[in-house]
């Protein structure tokens, strides 16, 4: 169920409620904002309709909820690629993956876990550099006021929050970790739920809705810089080994020329002034072409977890 699609309907229901409801005003404002953005985006489409639109799928492997950033990045990409670009966002990884696997979109920034699962279909384009290296970690976090829990095993029988079932750091790693500890991941926690985004895992753990959660270490560290109030509610109790950073992938039937052109643009990003500025907003240092072997560790974990 996509939250964004349901929100207007929810607003309509609330609109029937009594006057003086401030909730109503707030909801309306949100709906209005969304409509305004849609209207603002519309004139751009027909102008560039002559050349085909390059469609790029995005997932919450980075902070994909920064609309102003996305607008700038899209403009930058359009200038570089000399063709219109559209970002495609969905409520979970699965939908974006289906789109790119089915060739409905051209590229997608996805997690290493689905990449290794569909590595025979998808084609690796580029891997981001974080702190100078194409690696990241998974963090196990607990609420900041929980001083007792110091490892994943301390969360037995608690409520645990995953980000997305197709996420490496937010799902696969904790599953793998429990498996290697000889635990059954499906019964280890009393309850678990998905928030469909790393940032929301931080929120859920921060307010105490979940007693623990698994989150993308890169996202957590970036949030710690940009939204310290969010991460302050959480405490990292475990850091995973390093895994290949979520890569850009291309649809199966992507031509080599186009793939190369897009890869070149990404690799050049750090050497361009505005590109570097955009990268800094993401707290990334650039992109490298990357090798599929970068994700061998994830593949190994996925194989281990699937055996159970």
């Amino acid at each position: 169920m996509d939250i964004k699609h349901e929100a207007p309907a929810f607003a309509l229901i609330i609109a029937t409620m009594s006057k003086g409801d401030h909730l109503l005003a707030a909801t309306r404002r949100r709906v209005f904002l969304r409509s305004a953005l849609a209207v603002a985006a519309m004139p751009l489409l027909p102008v560039r309709a002559e050349t085909s639109v390059l469609r790029i799928g995005l997932t919450p492997v980075f902070l994909d909820d920064q609309l102003s950033f996305l607008t700038r990045w899209r403009a930058w990409l359009e200038r570089r690629l000399k063709r219109p670009v559209a970002f495609v966002q969905r409520g979970n990884y699965r939908e974006v993956l289906d789109l790119v696997r089915g060739g409905k979109i051209d590229f997608a920034w996805v997690c290493g876990y689905p990449y290794v699962r569909y590595r025979h279909e998808l084609r690796l384009v580029a891997v981001p550099l974080w702190r100078g290296r194409p690696y990241y970690q998974s963090y196990i976090i607990v609420p900041a006021d929980d001083a007792k829990s110091n490892s994943l095993t301390d969360l037995r029988g608690k409520v645990f929050s995953y980000s997305d079932p197709d996420s490496n750091s937010g799902y696969l790693y904790p599953q793998y970790r429990l498996t290697t500890l000889g635990e059954n991941p499906t019964t280890f926690f009393s309850r678990n739920f998905f928030t469909w985004g790393h940032r929301k895992v931080v929120e859920a753990v921060g307010v105490g809705l979940a007693d623990g959660g698994a989150v993308d270490g890169y996202v957590w560290e970036t949030l710690a810089e940009t939204h310290p109030a969010l991460t302050r509610g959480t405490r990292v109790i475990e850091r995973s080994p390093e895994f290949g950073h979520p890569p850009f992938v291309a649809r199966p039937d992507m031509s080599a020329i186009e793939l190369q052109r897009f890869r070149a643009v990404l690799l050049e990003m750090s050497s361009d002034a505005e590109g570097a500025e955009l990268l800094h907003l993401l707290r990334l240092d650039g992109f490298v072409a990357g090798q599929p072997s970068l994700f061998d560790e994830i593949r190994r974990m996925a194989a281990r977890v699937r055996q159970i």
Partner: protein, 482 residues
């Protein structure tokens, strides 16, 4: 209570009106506050039920899909931390499953997922009991006395099956400031209205009480001080108080009239008594007096020429003669046979008093002189008028004037003599017509006595009216035309 009952209407009426105004204001305020409170509660209930219903409907899918985060986001979206009306903001929202375990809540730390709120005991345990009692599809509002919250509960129903409940906990305390604000506002408006109304009410009530107070004041002066009572400023209106005022004025008028009559009668009776006694004494003196004078005359005519005896007898004779004159003056007797009173008699009177008038530079004015002779004894009338004129000239200021007015008709001669001298003091008025009552050094004080006696004997009436600058003696004497 007695002190209150004795309080003047001057205060009692305004105080009662104030009381009525205050009472009304308080009653209206209380009614308004009660109404507002009810409305507020109804609004809150309606709002709570509505929100609970919306949440329940919206949460069915997340609960069915066990999507805790989604449910939590929905609860969060129903909150507005910057709400203007904080009492409309649910303090806590719980979503429970069919076993009354927490599915999700807005306070995850207080209500951990999967725990039973009933295990906290107290209020939440009773909520569960209340849920068990009612039908699965009904909304409920529960207000436990010992809780800081009151609760609106709405079932989560999918296809007729209860999945759990949405429980909205509203703070009773956040309700209090709004209510206090409401009471404060009502009190302020009431106070404002009172400030505007009270002075008017006070003034109006004082006005209502004033005539009664004035009437009571005037009544207190009856019968001692009738003149003040008569002149009191009493209400002049058509209502009961006005009628009372009129009746009072009438009563005082009649009382005064009666008192005057009594006074007059007293004077008349006294004068009559004095008259009878004087006549009796005069007769008793006259009889031996005549004999004594005759004896002296006889002795003088035939007696020896003893010079000492002659001198002594002569002295006795003059004394006795003086007594006779005095007695004669006291004993006014009407001579029935007399000539009629003519206009020429007035001229004679003027000549007689002229010397006196000139001596004091007093002008005599005659108004409407007599036109014809009247069948009244001229000698007596001349004496009356002469006495009155001489009195008036003597009383008039130096260079003043005396007015003589005459008139006749309907068998009645009316005349008045008026001077502009000092008025007769009240204490002298009562004894004015008695013999030897004169306030002056000159004369015996028999002038007015004689006038009074003659007027009485002629069946007439005599009155005096004296004010500063104008003292008038008036008389009416009846006559019978031939």
């Amino acid at each position: 209570m007695i002190a209150l009952a004795d309080l003047s209407l001057r205060w009692k009426i305004p105080l009662r009106v104030m009381g009525a105004v205050l009472g009304t204001a308080l009653a209206v305020t209380a009614a308004l506050v009660t109404r507002e409170y009810d409305e507020m509660r109804q609004n809150l209930d309606a709002h709570g039920k509505s929100l609970a219903r919306v949440l329940a409907n919206t949460l069915v899918t997340p609960v069915l899909h066990d999507d805790i985060w989604r449910a939590y986001e929905i609860l969060q979206s129903a909150r507005d931390p910057t709400a203007i009306a904080p009492e409309l903001q649910a303090d806590v929202v719980l979503v429970t499953d069919a076993d009354f375990n927490v599915f999700v809540s807005t306070r995850p730390k207080e209500f951990p997922i999967g725990s039973s709120p009933a295990s906290r005991g107290g209020v939440y345990g009773r909520l569960r009991a209340a849920l068990v009692k009612t039908k699965a599809t009904e909304q409920q509002v529960i207000e436990p006395a010992d809780s800081v919250h009151y609760f609106v509960m709405s079932p989560l129903v999918a296809d007729g099956v209860a999945l759990g409940h949405v429980i909205l906990g509203y703070s009773k305390i956040s309700f209090v400031p709004r209510f206090i604000g409401l009471v404060g506002q009502a009190a302020f408006v009431t106070l404002l209205v009172l400030v505007l109304i009270l002075p008017f009410s006070w003034f109006w009530a004082r006005r209502t009480g004033e005539p009664l107070v004035a009437l009571a004041d005037a009544m207190r002066r009856v019968p001692g001080d009738l003149e003040v009572a008569r002149l009191a400023d009493l209400p002049k209106s058509g209502d009961e108080i006005g009628q009372l005022g009129n009746a009072f004025r009438r009563m005082v008028g009649e009382l005064k009239h009666k008192q005057e009559l009594e006074d007059q009668m007293l004077v008349t009776e006294r004068l009559a008594a004095v008259g009878r006694m004087t006549a009796g004494i005069a007769h008793e003196i006259n009889n031996p007096l005549g004999g004594m004078l005759t004896a002296i005359k006889t002795y003088q005519r035939h007696g020896a020429g003893d010079p000492l005896a002659n001198q002594t007898l002569s002295l006795l004779e003059r004394g006795l003669t003086q007594i006779r004159h005095t007695v004669a003056a006291l004993l006014v007797e009407t001579k029935l046979q007399d000539r009629p009173f003519e206009p020429a008699d007035i001229d004679d009177l003027l000549i007689l008093v002229e010397a006196e008038a000139r001596a004091r530079s007093v002008t005599i004015v005659i108004e409407s002189p007599l036109e014809r002779a009247l069948p009244l004894p001229a000698t007596l009338l001349r004496q009356i008028l002469l006495n009155l004129l001489l009195n008036a000239i003597a009383a008039a200021d130096e260079g003043g004037r005396v007015r003589l007015g005459l008139g006749s008709g309907d068998g009645m001669l009316r005349f008045s003599v008026c001077n502009d001298g000092k008025h007769i003091p009240d204490e002298q008025m009562a004894y004015l017509f008695e013999p030897f009552a004169s306030g002056r050094e000159k004369g015996y004080g028999l002038g007015l006595w004689v006038v009074y006696q003659i007027v009485q004997q002629l069946n007439g009436g005599l009155s005096v009216d004296s004010e500063p600058g104008c003292t008038t003696f008036s008389a009416e004497i009846p006559y019978v035309e031939n």
